[in-house]
């Protein structure tokens, strides 16, 4: 459990509960404090109440698209500054472009991102 990761709070937004818990397991093993949300509204609520240091955001969420979540987060001053990384299986270049325009800090494809790699990326990001 690397020391540097202690106290870092991550919000992981994914409606696929199994995938979310898989990532959560690995990230927690690396010492990160992981909060999960399974819908867009839940994500906005948790972000507003927990002030995570970094948000991993899926796009294909029920009721509310990930980009709408991102727009809402950016429009609220208390969450506007939280870095957001898109973590999804949608890989169309147009979506990637849109993600950048909306202020996402990176765009990762879940199928290409094993849990250990996500943990390592997170560690480098926060250090």
């Amino acid at each position: 459990m690397p020391d540097g990761s202690l106290g870092i709070r991550l919000l992981l937004v994914d409606d696929d509960v199994d995938v979310a818990s898989m990532y959560e397991m690995q990230l927690a093993a690396h010492g990160f404090h992981v909060i999960t949300a399974h819908s867009g509204t839940e994500a906005i609520d948790r972000a507003g109440s927990e002030y995570p240091d970094l948000i991993y955001l899926d796009l294909g969420l029920p009721e509310m698209h990930g980009f709408d979540v991102l727009r809402t987060l950016r429009s609220v001053p208390s969450t506007a500054g939280i870095p957001v990384v898109i973590l999804t299986n949608y890989s169309e270049p147009e979506l990637v472009q849109q993600g950048r325009e909306l202020g996402a800090h990176d765009y990762l494809i879940k199928a290409h991102t094993p849990p250990a790699a996500l943990a390592e990326a997170t560690r480098q990001w926060v250090s």
């Binding site: 890989s91 270049p93 494809i109 290409h112």
Partner: protein
């Protein structure tokens, strides 16, 4: 005519020759009067023709003087005042007498010399029932005419009258031919010009009205059992045709019209015609016309309708009928041409519609296929994420230690899952390329103009104290088949990158050039350049999060990534050459001809 003087015999020979060779009829008649004068020894001889309403002196002989009276005309009403002449014309027999003025009031119009004649003989020359001309012979001497003396002359005179009639007919035919030629010339001009149907029939109607000297002329089309006006033109072209009810002539109910349509006879009706077989008023009143000449308008097999001219200037003639039949024939040919053209067009349209519908169906199927493929691939990624993720955790031991046999199979499963993931990536790429290729709006793009537009836009957005100068170099107008919006996006990306990495006050150059089969655009900056080991990462997306790169996460796309995808979707590509310390050159290449999209986009 046994004792003909030699001169008379010679004249008789000449007349015969003239008649056989169809010589000038006036010369024949002139010879005839000379022949008569010399043969029967008269002082004066005239040949006078009788027309419908006029007596005309056609030839004349005067002993010892010039011929006079030639061409002189008297109205037929003058005839009863000349008893001798009148008797000859009404009986058809040779009449003998004294002076012409004898037995009635001498006509003051008669010449003194005629009245001085003592003996007169009038030889009527009959064609069929009617007397067509008379020879008037006069003697000053006391010697009277002897009966039988002039019989031979009557025979010869008849030939002269025949010659005259022939001459008149030939003249009529000639003038008819001239008019016919004019008609043909005008009609063929309409036919040769590529007019639309309505204009053609307008022009043709106008021409016909002019040629037959009618107030108006027009085509009537057979629609069911009714004749409806197709186009009607007044000769002057100024008066619009009367607005008449469309249902004017009932072809089935009108015997005359039916005969006209189906037997090919012409119909000529005039209010002034007492011999009309039907009451002309019934048709004329409906047409609102004084008289009408109608001819059938038909193809070889089918009656199309009729061509009718109304309100003639001086009655319709056979020549007019001939002209109109010719016009109707010509117009039927043209009508058939238009009909064939229309049929061909409608067939073509139907075939085009069919092909288009087919193409649309195929495109819809293709679209569905691509969309399904994309959806399916995306759905497959969810289980791959989970299974691969846990497999990697099993392999790393973060889920505890596996028994040895289980630990052995995990790498196998990982390898197969990676393979599956690649397959799904490829499926996604392919379907996306197909969808993108269909969405392209390919046009002739003037790439030099596009480069200048991009440069202008980059200049206005470049920030900093001393933004780099942007220069465009192009050999002239270069066109390429591409989607202009996509090309603008690509060039915009390349130029904004170049500007971003350029030191202050340096220069960015956009060079448009041609290569065999390709159009190339170089975007060159003078920044730091790119380290060789970093080049492969260039076209990967984001790349700004060092963690993701360091963690070896296979990325996704933006900026250059998106640009290369767009270029490849159009059959092109983007290359980069870097000179570390001296900047980089990115080159967009687009195919000159239309190509299938090639290459791949990272999934």
């Amino acid at each position: 005519m046994d004792q003909q003087p030699p001169e008379a015999a010679r004249l008789a020979g000449l007349i015969e020759g003239d008649l056989i060779s169809r010589g000038d009829p006036y010369q024949i008649m002139e010879r005839l009067v000379r022949f008569a004068a010399e043969n029967v020894d008269v002082d004066r001889c005239t040949l006078t023709s009788l027309d419908q309403d006029v007596l005309r002196v056609e030839a004349s002989y005067e002993r010892g003087g010039p011929p006079d009276f030639i061409g002189h005309e008297y109205p037929l009403s003058w005839l009863p005042r000349q008893p001798l002449l009148n008797r000859a014309v009404t009986t058809g027999a040779i009449v003998y007498g004294g002076s012409l003025g004898e037995g009635g009031n001498s006509d003051p119009e008669l010449a003194e010399s005629l009245l001085a004649m003592h003996h007169t003989a009038i030889v009527p020359l009959s064609l069929g029932d009617a007397v067509g001309a008379v020879l008037i012979l006069s003697r000053r001497s006391e010697r009277p005419f002897v009966p039988g003396e002039l019989d031979g002359l009557q025979q010869v005179g008849l030939l002269a009258v025949l010659a005259l009639r022939n001459a008149r007919l030939v003249e009529q035919v000639r003038s008819a031919q001239r008019r016919g030629l004019d008609s043909l010339t005008q009609m063929s001009r309409h036919m040769a010009s590529s007019l639309d149907r309505a204009t053609f029939f307008d022009k043709m109607s106008e021409t016909v009205a002019g040629l037959v000297a009618a107030g108006r002329a027009g085509f009537w089309q057979l629609a069911g059992t009714e004749l409806v006006p197709l186009h009607e033109q007044s000769a002057a072209g100024t008066d619009p045709p009367d607005p008449r009810p469309r249902e004017v002539l009932d072809a089935a109910g009108d015997r005359e019209v039916a005969r006209l349509l189906f037997s090919g006879e012409a119909l000529r009706l005039s209010r002034a015609d007492p011999k009309a077989s039907i009451d002309p008023d019934s048709v004329l009143a409906r047409l609102g016309a004084r008289d009408v000449l109608a001819v059938p308008w038909r193809t070889a097999a089918v009656p199309l309708g009729l061509l009718a001219a109304c309100d003639s200037q001086s009655g319709f003639t056979d020549q007019d009928e001939w002209t109109m039949r010719l016009a109707a024939r010509a117009s039927a040919l043209v009508w058939q041409g238009y009909a064939a053209e229309q049929r061909a067009q409608s067939l073509q349209t139907a075939e085009m519609d069919r092909l288009e519908a087919h193409a649309e169906r195929m495109a819809a199927l293709e679209r569905q296929k691509s969309e399904f493929l994309q959806l399916a691939s995306h759905e497959l990624r969810a289980p791959i994420t989970l299974v691969s993720g846990y497999l990697s955790m099993l392999e790393e031991g973060s889920l505890g230690t596996l028994p040895t046999p289980a630990a052995k199979v995990v790498p196998l499963m990982t390898a197969r899952m990676r393979h599956m993931s690649e397959l799904v990536d490829r499926m996604l790429t392919t379907s996306r390329m197909e969808i993108r290729a269909r969405g392209q709006n390919t046009k002739d793009v003037s790439i030099d103009a596009l480069a200048r537009a991009v440069a202008a836009s980059a200049r206005t957005t470049a920030g900093g104290l001393a933004p780099p100068t942007i220069r465009v170099e192009t050999p002239g107008r270069i066109r390429v088949r591409a989607d202009p919006e996509q090309v603008e996006t690509i060039l915009g990306n390349l130029v904004s990158n170049a500007v971003k990495y350029s030191p202050e006050g340096s220069e960015v150059t956009i060079t448009v050039r041609e290569e065999p089969g390709w159009v190339a655009v170089d975007v060159t900056d003078h920044g730091e350049g790119i380290a060789e080991e970093d080049l492969p990462k260039l076209f990967q997306p984001f790349g700004r999060l060092p963690g993701a790169i360091a963690a070896g996460i296979h990325g996704t796309g933006l900026g250059l990534h998106l640009s290369i995808g767009l270029a490849q979707a159009q059959g092109g590509d983007i290359d980069v050459i870097s000179r570390p310390g001296d900047g980089s050159t990115f080159t967009l290449r687009l195919p000159r001809g239309r190509r299938r999209p090639a290459g791949r986009i990272d999934a």
